[in-house]
Amino acid sequence: MGERVLVVDNEKEVSNFLASFLKRRNIKVFSATSAATAVEIYKKEKPNVVLLDIVMPDMDGLTLLQKLKAIDSGPHIVMLTSRKSPTVIAEVKKLGAEVFLSKPVELSEIDKVVRSFLSRDRV
């Protein structure tokens, strides 16, 4: 299947950047700017890792997270958002996201997290 990452962010600039950022690492990247397309791609393409923003136009990221985990609990979920209240972080972890990164983010953190998940899967 190869390494597959799904990027979900309502801002096209961000999802475009992350897509090209990851593609350079020979990762197959899918991007979605709405929750609906995110669900669709998640079902069809079965990504190993999902980078997920909390703020989405059609559904909040927490509900989307729940939905994705209900479809398939396998993929690693990384929350990437500008919201950083401790209650949100706790909630996100409870719902099954493994990593929480807050924007603005150190780019090396995204890189390290994604790579650690992908290499873990390979083993």
């Binding site: 600039e13 475009n16 950047f17 350079r24 603005p104 983010v105 150190e106 780019l107 090396s108 890189d111």
Partner: protein
């Protein structure tokens, strides 16, 4: 080559005029992308509160450019360390990706593992940021920002003259950012002082109320109403001022005049001010001196408060010329005075006085409407009625 030099020189000149750092950085990034033909460029600005560098401004192709507000760089980041701690591998200030790569490939570097490690980390960081060149922006010895430049279009390499120009620009940017910050700080302080000043005036204006037991809260109510009437007059285009600054200035003068309009009552004997029952002609004459006494009190500030003093002096004039102290009529009464005159009359009617009870609001409004064109200036009455109507709703 001459082309971009000109553009950059122009940019440097504009920097002096712009006091908002964000606008300034945006302009510079735009110019640099265009002049050197870059895929993308961005600026990492140091945020003193948060203690890290945020990518505040970026430009270029979507997907290639770094999204604004998305990326940050900590102080521990190797790029920051490289620039601020003075690790220097090269004589110049830049980090150039192709040069790092070349150096890492050369045999000489292998000898020093620590240097090799740092170079590798720098290479990695630059790749993450899609940077071909990074330039530090220093103000004195403070790293205030980092310019991140992407590749040149058509894979051309940066020329040394371009790099030279960019480094001059970077230090100009740093200075402009510091200036802008300083300017912002001054503006905030100025704003605070202005507020404090108006509160002081309010206190001073309120002092008269200690003497006149019936006028508690009168001055501040008159001030609030006067300012509302003024805003309404502006909305209706009756106050026509050439620019915003002038309008603000007039508003400030009105505010001061409204707060101090009765300051002259300090010079009137208490038994006359608080007298129950009608005043004798002499007593009336004495009380009618209060606008002029007010002018005299404020004499030391005659230059700074010129328009406010005129407002105080004439706030008892009448539109038909039967008021005091000068019996001015119509447009010869300063607008500030006409506004305060009406607000003062309305507040006096709707509060208890030694010689009578307060009128109901409706009766007072009726009274003002009836005296439109005789006691009160018509357009000010219209504005006043509109203010009240808006408040009802």
């Amino acid at each position: 080559m001459i082309g971009y030099r000109k553009i950059l020189e122009q940019a440097a000149r504009q920097m002096i005029l712009i006091h908002d750092p964000d606008v300034l950085i945006r302009l510079i990034i735009k110019i640099v992308i265009k002049a050197i033909d870059l895929e993308h460029a961005g600026f990492l600005l140091y945020d003193e509160e948060k203690g890290y560098y945020t990518l505040t401004v970026s430009g270029g192709k979507s997907g290639t450019k770094l999204p604004e507000g998305f990326a940050r760089v900590r102080r521990e980041n190797p790029m920051v360390k490289y620039f601020s701690y003075g690790y220097r591998f090269w004589r110049d200030d830049f980090l150039i990706h192709s040069r790092i790569k070349r150096t890492l490939e050369s045999k000489k570097m292998l000898k020093d593992p620590l240097r090799r490690q740092l170079l590798k980390e720098l290479q990695y960081q630059m790749e993450l940021h899609k940077a071909e060149v990074c330039l530090p922006c220093f103000f004195r010895d403070k790293l205030v920002g980092i310019v991140v430049l992407g590749k040149k279009m058509k894979r051309k390499t940066f020329t040394s003259s371009e790099l030279g120009y960019l480094s001059i620009l970077a230090s100009d940017v740093a200075m402009a950012i510091e200036n802008a910050k300083l300017f912002q700080g001054i503006r905030i302080q100025l704003d605070k002082n202005k507020k404090l000043f108006l509160r002081m005036i309010e206190v001073l204006g309120g002092a008269i109320e200690a003497k006149d037991k019936y006028t508690s809260g009168h001055t501040s109510r008159v001030a609030v109403l006067s300012l509302k009437i003024f805003e309404e007059l502006c909305r209706r285009g009756i106050v026509k001022k050439k620019n915003y600054q002038e309008k603000l200035r007039m508003k400030e003068m009105l505010h001061i005049a409204a707060l101090l309009h009765d300051i002259g009552k300090i010079g009137i004997p208490e038994h006359i001010i608080n007298k129950q029952g009608p005043l004798t002609p002499e007593e009336r004459h004495i009380i009618e001196q209060h606008p002029v006494i007010g002018v005299n009190i404020l004499y030391p500030l005659r230059k700074e408060f010129k328009d406010a003093i005129l407002g105080i002096k004439h706030h008892h004039e009448r539109y038909d010329g039967r008021g005091y102290p000068e019996g001015r009529r119509g447009c010869h009464i300063p607008l500030i005075a006409a506004i305060i005159g009406l607000a003062d009359a309305y507040d006096a009617m709707t509060s208890d006085r030694p010689y009578r009870k307060a009128l109901a609001k409706e009766r007072a409004i009726e009274e003002i409407r009836r005296n439109k064109g005789t006691q009160f200036r018509p357009d000010v009455v219209e504005a006043f009625l509109n203010v009240l109507m808006r408040e009802e709703v």
